[in-house]
Amino acid sequence: MTVALDRHVPLLGGFNGAVIGLEIRRMLRNRRTLLLSMVIPTVFFLAFGSIPGSGSGASVLVSMAVYGAVLATTSGGAMVSIERAAGWSRQLRTTPLAPAAYIAVKMATSVVLSAAAVGVVYLVAAATGKAAMPVWMWIVTGVAAWLGSLLFTAFGLFVGYLMPSENVMQVIAFVLMLFSFAGGLLLPLSLFSPALRTAASFTPMWGLNGLVHYPLAGGSFNWLWVANLAAWLVVFTAGAAWRFSKDTARV
């Protein structure tokens, strides 16, 4: 009996639906990620969505959706840290999976999870009737929160490659909390001093927050939101690509 030697290379370096499906199943099993990206934003919305002075229910809803989606995408990216610490990345290198396909799998997983994070809090809001918006605004803000949060997949990958540790998730939850405050997600920026407000406009969630709230808040469009988002996208993607290339070279 002999073993066949005529072999093929997988399409797309091993990127496929079955792998993404298993990744999603694994993420949904992670209680901390579920709690931070879906349960807490929903609870916060229910708790603060109808308090006078905290902005309209719709505004709180949008903020919470962004917060949950960003946590989901960052966690999705940062999983590389845990996988490296466990030696799983090294194990994967003994399979046909291409390094770029591995990153693509992580990003695709993040796309699905952030959609779920936005979907959950939006569904609860719709069911409880605590957020009043025209239908088109539900769609526009929801899609904006979902797509905008994908920026943070790159952030998660960057941090994940930077910190080869099991504690990366605690660090991320803390850092994202700071970003959320500075971005105006949790408190209106009008409460900040002018100097602090200027400083806040350079933090990574400020642009996303402004853009996602724009359909709701109205007023004039601020191109600096776009500039902020684009600049951080470049920074995070470059950082992740740099660490990633170091990582594969080190092998």
Partner: protein
């Protein structure tokens, strides 16, 4: 075509030389033990075979291909040492995930049955024993139906029963005509499961032959005698002498034919206080791989 062709392989990490000129040719279908003490360069060599690291110099071919190309085609797969598994996947999910990465693969249920993990398919990897995790790694390695299977210290940290069970599974699989290269520092493991043993020390091959040939090199007795100013050069020329070591006034000789050595020492030299001791297999292995050993390759 040969399964493995390694030529003049060198691997250095900064000032440390892990592999210092290894040549190794393994024909398709051979079961080869890569035997040596820790730090002999076994894992460094295996890493280059799997495309996990690139040689400092020298060439490595797996079925005529660069290692990474062979991996992408599923021609070679590996069971690595500990680690390399995700705790929050189940056993079945881990196998299914790996299966999805190959262009073609054996059915998931088939490899799990062959590795003996069907009963624990739905158990979380984090809840599996070391032996169960190793059989899971073995199942994953079987997925591409590899022409070459590489096992790096596969039974490290297993108890005797788990070790025996693991090897029973590997041996059953070897009958499929697969080439198998396994690294180990257990001499009895190499003896029991390999057709051929390649002994490495300090990043070089020091012996290469059938288990019987290498054991013959290692078998024998040690002879100790008090002989100030011993004629070491002549002792080394005696038939069956593997190593000669001088410790102060005494001389320690390891030989397959200890009778000849003893006769020579007593009849023709001023040596006295002769002591003869049988060397166990492990002692013999230590003798072969220790710094003072002088061993000739049989191939």
């Amino acid at each position: 075509m040969n399964a493995i062709e390694v030529r003049e392989l060198h691997k250095r990490f900064g000032d440390v030389t892990a592999v210092d000129g290894i040549d190794l040719t393994v024909a398709a279908g051979e079961v080869v033990a890569f035997l040596g003490p820790n730090g002999a360069g076994k894992t460094s060599t295996i890493d280059t075979l799997l495309g996990l690291s690139t040689p400092t110099s020298g060439s490595v071919r797996v079925h005529g291909l660069p290692p990474r190309e062979a991996v992408r085609r599923g021609l070679v797969s590996a069971v690595m040492q500990t680690g390399g598994l995700l705790k929050d996947f189940t056993v079945r999910e881990t196998v299914a995930y790996t299966a999805a990465l190959f262009a073609t693969h054996r059915p998931v249920d088939e490899v799990m049955a062959r590795a003996g993990i069907t009963e624990i398919a739905n158990r979380r990897v984090g809840k599996c024993s070391g032996g169960q995790q190793q059989r899971l790694r073995f199942a994953m390695a079987l997925l591409p139906d590899p022409a070459l299977l590489v096992l790096d210290e596969p039974t490290q940290g297993m108890d005797v029963a788990a070790r025996r069970q693991f090897w029973a599974q590997v041996r059953a699989d070897a009958q499929a005509g697969r080439t198998i290269l396994f690294a180990t520092h257990y001499l009895e493991e190499a003896d029991a499961y390999a057709d051929r043993i390649v002994l490495v020390r300090h990043g070089r091959v020091v012996a290469d032959g059938t288990a019987a040939e290498v054991k013959a090199l290692a078998a024998g007795r040690s002879v100790r005698a008090t002989w100030p100013g011993a004629d070491v050069a002549y002792l080394r020329t005696l038939p069956g002498v593997n190593s000669v070591e001088v410790r102060g006034d005494s001389v320690l000789i390891h030989a397959t034919d200890s009778d000849t050595v003893a006769r020579y020492l007593l009849n023709l030299t001023p040596a006295r206080d002769l002591e003869l001791a049988a060397a166990g297999l492990e002692d013999a292995f230590m003798a072969l791989t220790s710094d003072n050993a002088t061993v000739g390759a049989t191939r």
